[in-house]
């Protein structure tokens, strides 16, 4: 941890070759020695290749990633939406060049590319045009775009009535002011628009938080999505967009290292701690995420172990097909990234089923854990020489007796460390469930990062919680196995006074 902290301080002090602080025009940034960062898949990322065709463009997945890169001087400058930058006031080293406009970005709501989606989109556009004219849209935008939102800012859904059915809206909760977490609730322009629309049309609204909105729209799992989705040409091919809700200028941002003077490491820690946990009661996010992570891990662990073990016993009893199935699953999981597997489950296999992301995660991890339990038992039992099985058979043991009374106890000690390793792997790999719309511990850290634009504290906290969880789980397992182990022994030591001396 100390090493990590030192490294972050060291790297944040590193400077790049060219001094960009005196640049006065966009053209000056079009220099092949400069590295310019943008968020991938946004309309800026397309435009910038035309405007700054000489500079080296670096792509980042999210806004927080982009800002972190700038902060650590991995890039010389970044191009970002102007409105968005106002939220970064607590970033002390940003110099926003408001006059250097590179392009414009339009934000809209997204609808599935189906007949139903098109109809809903057209209807929504009529609604949008109306409120554009009567000033309601501007009112909503002005309210949510503010940096100093009042603490009780929230959206009231209680008046929504299920007259014409229910609409499912997917949202990410990362994109202020469109969809973001404020005091542990998702709020923003897109959500208020959706509320207003549903209120007018007599729909009930079901809001689902996910980290991958686009695949969700494409699969048709939702009626629409609002998450500050940018209108790009490529996206127009796969989803329907509403008319723009908001149009933003894209401006250049550079580092202002002078802002760091007098700001000590202690200050950074204090501020980091405050904005990560205390502000907007964010510790609740971490607690909720932790509970989700524990629930997914423990349920998959228990179910996976039970399924793997029971199926092994059936296989041992003579049903050889099971081994073939597990062999192919094992083969698959060694090649298929877990996150891809989970997304396949959610968006392909259960695409037409109304299923909770957490259930999908538990199903997915149960299958993978059962596979590793099966193959570890199989490997250990197979490593016991056939001679012992033969000796047991000759003594009159049945096949199942041999397994329970002799093979399992013998394999048990060797299985334990492998099993614990698999558990550790399980805990860490649950961190990807954010992709299937589950808000776990990692996702909580991401949400906080998206709000504070600081990476050190949220990530450190998440790391520490994972390590503690893993430790607790291994302690529980080894205590339980000690109890189990005594059942396997020939417990003659209880014959007090009759046994020979040790």
């Amino acid at each position: 941890m100390i090493v990590l902290a030192l490294m972050s301080v060291l790297f944040s002090c590193r400077k790049r070759g060219i001094d960009v602080t005196k640049f006065k025009s966009v053209e000056e940034f079009n220099n092949e020695k400069l590295k310019i960062g943008v968020v991938i898949g946004t309309s800026i990322s397309v435009e910038i290749e035309k405007v700054l065709d000489k500079a080296k463009i670096e792509y980042f997945r999210t806004g927080p990633d982009l800002m972190s890169a700038l902060k650590l001087s991995k890039v010389d400058a970044v191009v970002f939406e102007e409105y968005n930058l106002t939220y970064l006031a607590n970033f002390k080293n940003l110099n926003i060049l408001h006059d250097l406009v590179v392009g414009q970005t339009s934000f809209a709501l997204g609808f599935p590319k189906t007949e139903k989606g098109k109809a809903l989109r057209d209807d929504f556009n009529l609604f949008l045009n109306r409120i554009k004219e009567n000033g309601r849209l501007q009112e909503i935008v002005d309210y949510w775009i503010r940096i100093d939102l009042p603490g009780d800012a929230s959206i009231d859904y209680s008046e929504l009535k299920n007259v014409n059915g229910e609409l499912t809206m997917y949202t990410q909760g990362f994109e202020r002011p469109f969809s973001f977490v404020f005091y542990n609730d998702i709020v923003g322009i897109d959500l208020e628009l959706a509320r207003d629309y549903c209120k007018e049309k007599g729909y009930k609204l079901n809001i689902v938080k996910t980290s991958s909105v686009l695949p969700a729209i494409k699969s048709g799992k939702c009626d629409f999505a609002g998450s500050g989705i940018e209108i790009t040409e490529e996206r127009k091919d796969v989803i329907y967009f509403s008319d723009p809700v908001y149009v933003a200028n894209d401006v250049i941002v550079i580092n202002d290292t002078s802002a760091f003077e007098g700001y000590t490491f202690i200050d950074a820690i204090r501020d980091g701690f405050h904005e990560t946990l205390i502000e907007e009661d964010r510790y609740i996010l971490f607690l909720k995420g932790m509970i989700v992570t524990i629930a997914i891990t423990v349920l998959s662990l228990v179910l996976g172990t039970a399924v793997g073990f029971v199926l092994y016993v059936i296989y041992y009893g003579g049903c050889k097909v099971i081994a073939k199935v597990f062999d192919s699953l094992d083969w698959l999981f060694k090649r298929l990234p877990m996150v891809v597997f989970l997304m396949l489950l959610l968006y392909v296999i259960f695409a037409r089923v109304d299923i909770n992301g957490a259930v999908v995660a538990i199903i997915g991890f149960t299958i993978t854990f059962a596979t590793s339990v099966f193959s570890m038992i199989n490997a250990e039992i197979k490593s016991i020489d056939k001679g012992q099985v033969e000796a047991a058979t000759a003594l009159g043991y049945t096949k199942i007796q041999t397994f329970y009374d002799l093979l399992l106890p013998q394999a048990f000690n060797k299985l334990l460390p492998v099993y614990q390793g698999a558990i550790l792997q399980l805990i860490t790999s649950t961190s990807i469930v954010g992709y299937v719309m589950v808000s776990d511990l990692t996702k909580a850290g991401d949400l906080v990062r998206s709000r504070t634009f600081g990476e050190f504290f949220p990530l450190l906290l998440v790391a520490i919680i994972y390590i503690i969880l893993a430790k607790i789980l291994t302690i529980i397992i080894s205590q339980m196995s000690k109890i189990l182990l005594t059942k396997f022994l020939v417990n003659y030591k209880s014959l007090k006074g009759k046994t020979i001396n040790d």
């Binding site: 016991i384 020489d385 001679g387 012992q388 033969e390 000796a391 047991a392 058979t393 000759a394 003594l395 009159g396 043991y397 049945t398 007796q401 009374d405 002799l406 106890p409 013998q410 000690n413 022994l489 020939v490 417990n491 003659y492 209880s494 014959l495 009759k498 046994t499 020979i500 040790d502």
Partner: protein, 378 residues
């Protein structure tokens, strides 16, 4: 009583045993000998149904164990088995190895199983090793523990599948002594073995297996000393002899010496006698003959131990010109050879296409043999 009626065992279309008939009476101790691949192991594994016969019937104490639906676990508790590789349960101590089947299968009380196991380990002289794990003890001790475990089920029949084949020569006798003791308990025993002396001592009947069946059977005297059929004769002769053929210059001398040592040990030649034997081989074959033979040597060495005279004869035939080792330039080697052996006799061979020379060496180990026997009797 065990009865096999027209029992055939085949894997796919390959016959291991064909139409075997046998009757084994209570209290019989039967040694099974025969070349490898003759189906000896299969024969005894059929008796406790570790192998299921392809055809035929097997009766144990009047019950047909090959009948469909018969619970083979029941009969297996009556029949103990001792394996070549011991097959002790590796995660259990010797005591637990003997206790475990009594608790699991015979459902005995812990205290009864414990008392019985201590008694059985004492029978095989392993009381002091009771709390050791299999990997901590020698091969001979492991096999004795395996015998104790077999006895724990109180079987009336015990099958031994080459119980001493995986053991060091030094450990063979300790296991043989334990098996010989079981004979006095009146157990019916069937033993697959290569140890002729042991088979003679302990068994009342011997099965010689070949041609996928019991080829010849009789008392140990009949089979070992006066076999009737050709294949039996040849096998018994080879069992008595050790034959080494050397046809290349860079042969494995250490391997041959180890074979000679093993053969001598099996025939209870003393340590000193064994040293003399190896010395003679080294000086005569390596020091004198091989030197003389050039690039295409052919040397045939036959060791034969005679029970009657208690002398060991080593006959060495070799090719090349007529050449008496006595005339060798290597005086030192010949001197050592002469002092090591009790007799050296050279003769020329005239009617053999390959071998022209023959040397007969004799080792008289009688004096030490007598001493060994005396100790054993005590």
């Amino acid at each position: 009583m065990i009865e096999l009626k027209n029992v055939t065992k085949k894997f796919d279309n390959f016959y291991v045993l064909k139409n075997v008939n046998a009757t084994i009476n209570d209290g019989d101790v039967i040694s099974i000998i025969g070349p490898s691949g003759a189906g000896k192991s299969t024969f005894i594994r059929l008796i406790n149904m570790l192998e299921v016969p392809s055809e035929g019937q097997i009766f144990v104490d009047g019950e047909e164990i090959t009948a469909s639906g018969y619970r083979v676990e029941n009969i297996r508790q009556k029949i103990g088995m001792v394996f070549q590789d011991f097959n002790l349960f590796k995660h259990l101590t010797l005591l637990e190895n003997v206790m475990k089947p009594q608790i699991d299968i015979k459902k005995k009380l812990l205290v009864d199983a414990y008392t019985e196991s201590i008694r059985l380990l004492d029978v095989v002289s392993l009381s002091e090793k009771a709390k050791r794990y299999p990997h901590e003890i020698s091969g001979g001790q492991k096999q004795r523990a395996a015998i104790a475990r077999a006895l724990a089920m109180d079987p009336s029949i015990i099958l031994f599948d080459e119980p001493t084949s995986a053991l060091d020569p030094t450990m063979i006798s300790e296991v043989e002594e334990v098996i010989a003791e079981l004979k006095s308990m009146g157990k019916t025993m069937i033993i697959v073995t290569h140890e002729m002396g042991f088979a003679k001592r302990v068994s009342n009947r011997v099965f010689f297996m070949d041609d996928k069946t019991i080829y010849e059977e009789g008392t140990p005297e009949e089979i070992f000393d006066n076999p009737k059929k050709d294949k039996t004769k040849r096998f018994i002769k080879n069992l008595r002899l050790l034959i080494i053929v050397i046809d290349r210059k860079d042969c494995d001398y250490w391997g041959y010496e180890a074979d000679i040592d093993k053969y001598a040990m099996k025939n209870h030649i003393s340590v000193k006698g064994r040293t003399r034997l190896k010395l003679a081989f080294e000086e005569l074959v390596r020091g004198i003959i091989m030197d003389k033979l050039g690039n295409e040597p052919r040397v045939n060495i036959v060791l034969e131990y005679s029970n009657q005279t208690e002398k060991l004869k080593m006959t060495i035939k070799y090719n090349g010109d007529y050449f008496n080792p006595k005339d060798s330039d290597n005086d030192l080697s010949y001197h050592v050879l002469k002092s090591a052996m009790d007799g050296i006799e050279y003769s020329e061979i005239h009617d053999d296409p390959v071998y022209k020379n023959q040397v007969e060496l004799v080792l008289d180990d009688q004096l030490l043999q007598n001493l060994y026997k005396k100790i054993k009797k005590q």
